[in-house]
C-alpha cells in the first residue's frame, strides 16, 4: 500500500547475471520506462533458481515472481537454462494446479542486448499481476496478538 491507500504490487525478479540483469541495465541506461514494481535479485544463472526461492517469495507475501535467464543456446554455463526450463515448466504447472493464479509466477528469456524486451516483459508481468490483485495464496500469516503484523513496516 502507498500513502494514498492504493495497492501497488511487489514483484521479485530473479535475473541471470549474464543476460537479463545486463538487459535490465541496458533498459535503464537507454532510459526506457518500465513499471517500478520489481525488486531485482541477481543470480549467476536461471539454473541457480531453486523452486524454494519462488515458494519462499510467495510465502513472504510478494505479489509476483519473475525469473529471467538467457535464451536457449546462450547460457554462459552451456546448459543451465535448459535444465531450468524443465524445472520451471513443471513448477508453474504445479503451482497453478493447486490454485496459484496463472501469471503470478512467470518466466522469460531476455538477453543482455534486449533492453527494450526487458522493459516489455516487466510491463506485461506487472500489468498482469495488477489485474490479479494482492497475493493471498500460500502467504504465511502469523497471528500477532494485538500486535498488528500487517501495519508494521
Amino acid at each position: 500500500m502507498n500513502e494514498s491507500g492504493q495497492w501497488k504490487p511487489k514483484i521479485i525478479a530473479f535475473l541471470c547475471n549474464w543476460c537479463s540483469y545486463a538487459g535490465a541495465d541496458l533498459a535503464g541506461t537507454s532510459r526506457i520506462q518500465y513499471p517500478p514494481n520489481i525488486r531485482v535479485v541477481r543470480v549467476p544463472c536461471s539454473g541457480r533458481i531453486d523452486p524454494f526461492f519462488i515458494l519462499a517469495s510467495l510465502q513472504n507475501g510478494l505479489d509476483g515472481v519473475l525469473v529471467s535467464g538467457c535464451h536457449p543456446g546462450e547460457c554462459h554455463y552451456l546448459s543451465g537454462n535448459y535444465s531450468a526450463r524443465r524445472k520451471f515448466a513443471l513448477l508453474k504447472g504445479l503451482l497453478e494446479y493447486v490454485g496459484v493464479e496463472e501469471g503470478r509466477v512467470q518466466f522469460s528469456w531476455v538477453s543482455a542486448s534486449e533492453g527494450v524486451r526487458f522493459a516489455k516483459v516487466i510491463e506485461e508481468v506487472t500489468s498482469h499481476i495488477k489485474t490479479l490483485g494482492p497475493a493471498k495464496i500460500l502467504v504465511k500469516n502469523i497471528p500477532g496478538g494485538s500486535f498488528d503484523v500487517s501495519a508494521h513496516p
Binding site: P51, F52, L55, A56, Q59, L66, P72, G73, S79, Y82, S83, R85, R86, K87, F88, A89, L90, L91, K92, G93, L94, L95, E96, Y97, V98, G99, V100, E101, E102, Q106, F107, S108, W109, R117, K120, V121, E123, E124, V125, I137, L138, V139, K140, N141, I142
Partner: protein, 321 residues
C-alpha cells in the same frame, strides 16, 4: 492364493540356500484383520511367515536404499518401478537383488472397508477372487473387491512387475505384461475445476496434515539423508501445522518426486489423516508425460527427466512480449 504363497516361499527358500548374508524382504500376516506387513527373513525356518494377499500394500523397495548384502524382495508392479528408479539412482545395485515379482490384483483399502462397516469392528476377513467377506463383531458383509481397491490401484497401468528374476501369480491372460499408457482420466474432473475451488480443496486436505512425515518415510524414493524440511540453514519450510508451511512441504515433496514418483500410493496408505497427497503427484506424473514423454520406473536406461533436457523442450509457458 495358497499356491502363490507356496511359490513365493519356495523362491525365497532357493535364495536363502544359495549363500550367506542374505535377507528376504516380503510380507507376513499383520496383527489385525486386513493388515499384512513387511517382514525380514534370514532363516529358512522363518519362511513360513511369508504370505500373499490383498493387503500386502507396502512398497518394500523403501527398505533398500544403501542396504548391504544380497536381498530377495517381493514386489508388485508399482514396487518394481520404484526398484528401477532406485537402481538408476545408485541406491542399490541390480546384482544385489533377486526380484520376486508378483502379478498384482490390486490392494484393498482398509479405510474404505472400515468406513462401510457402520462403526462395527472388523474381526476377520475372507478374501476371494472377486469378493471379500468381512466378519464384524455382530454381522458379516460381502464387498466387491474391485470397488474397495486403493485409488492408485484403480488406475494401475502395470500390475505385472517391469523388472523381475522370478515372476509369479500370472493367471489372467488379459493382464497387460508391460506398462500401458496412463490416461490420467482420474484427474479430469478435478483439473476442470476453477483455480479457487482447487485451492479450497487443497486447503482442506492440507489442513488435515499433522506433519508426522509418514508419507515421506513410507515413500521408496524419499531417501535423502536430510530432508529439506529438516534443514535449518536455510530453513525453507516452517515446522508447524501452518497451512502455508504444510502446503509448501507437500508441494516441494511432490516436486522432488517429479519424474521419479512411480505412483505406488505408499504415501497415501501411510497417511493416518487421509490427506489426498497423490493428487499432487498425479499431476506431476501427467506433466512429466506430456512435456517430457517420460514414465518413471519403466526402464533402466532412460534418464530421469530432471537430470537431462532437450534443446527443443517447449517454452510455450514463458512470457513472450
Amino acid at each position: 492364493m495358497s499356491q502363490l504363497i507356496h511359490e513365493i516361499k519356495e523362491a525365497a527358500r532357493d535364495f536363502l540356500r544359495d549363500g550367506e548374508d542374505r535377507t528376504v524382504i516380503g510380507f507376513e500376516q499383520g496383527s489385525l484383520p486386513l493388515q499384512s506387513r513387511p517382514c525380514f527373513i534370514r532363516k529358512e525356518n522363518d519362511l513360513e511367515r511369508l504370505v500373499w494377499n490383498g493387503f500386502c500394500k507396502n512398497n518394500l523397495a523403501g527398505y533398500l536404499p544403501k542396504r548391504k548384502g544380497k536381498i530377495a524382495i517381493v514386489v508388485k508392479g508399482c514396487d518394481s518401478r520404484a526398484l528401477v528408479e532406485l537402481i538408476k539412482e545408485n541406491q542399490i545395485t541390480r546384482d544385489q537383488l533377486v526380484i520376486i515379482g508378483v502379478a498384482c490384483n490390486g490392494m484393498i483399502d482398509r479405510n474404505k472397508i472400515e468406513a462401510d462397516m457402520d462403526g462395527e469392528s472388523i474381526v476377520d476377513v475372507e478374501e476371494g477372487e472377486d469378493v471379500l467377506t468381512i466378519k464384524g463383531t455382530n454381522s458379516s458383509k460381502v464387498f466387491d473387491r474391485k470397488e474397495y481397491l486403493y485409488d492408485h490401484c484403480k488406475v494401475c497401468t502395470n500390475p505385472v512387475p517391469v523388472i523381475h528374476d522370478i515372476l509369479l501369480g500370472q493367471r489372467d491372460s488379459n493382464t497387460p505384461q508391460a506398462p500401458v499408457n496412463d490416461t490420467f482420466s482420474d484427474l479430469e474432473d478435478f483439473s476442470a475445476l476453477d483455480g479457487k475451488e482447487r485451492w479450497k480443496y487443497f486447503t482442506e486436505e492440507m489442513n488435515k496434515c499433522i506433519r508426522c512425515y509418514a508419507c515421506r518415510n513410507a515413500c521408496p524414493m524419499c531417501y535423502c539423508p536430510e530432508c529439506f524440511v529438516d534443514a535449518s540453514r536455510p530453513q525453507w519450510v516452517g515446522k508447524s501445522t501452518d497451512l502455508s508451511d504444510t502446503m509448501i512441504f507437500h508441494l516441494m515433496r511432490a516436486f522432488h518426486l517429479a519424474g521419479r514418483c512411480v505412483g505406488c500410493g505408499a504415501c497415501e496408505q501411510a497417511c493416518p489423516m487421509g490427506v489426498d497427497i497423490r493428487k499432487l503427484n498425479r499431476r506431476l506424473q501427467k506433466d512429466v508425460m506430456d512435456l517430457f514423454h517420460y514414465k518413471a520406473g519403466c526402464n533402466l536406461e532412460e534418464k530421469t527427466p530432471l537430470a537431462t533436457f532437450r534443446t527443443d523442450d517447449s517454452d510455450s509457458f514463458m512470457v513472450e512480449p
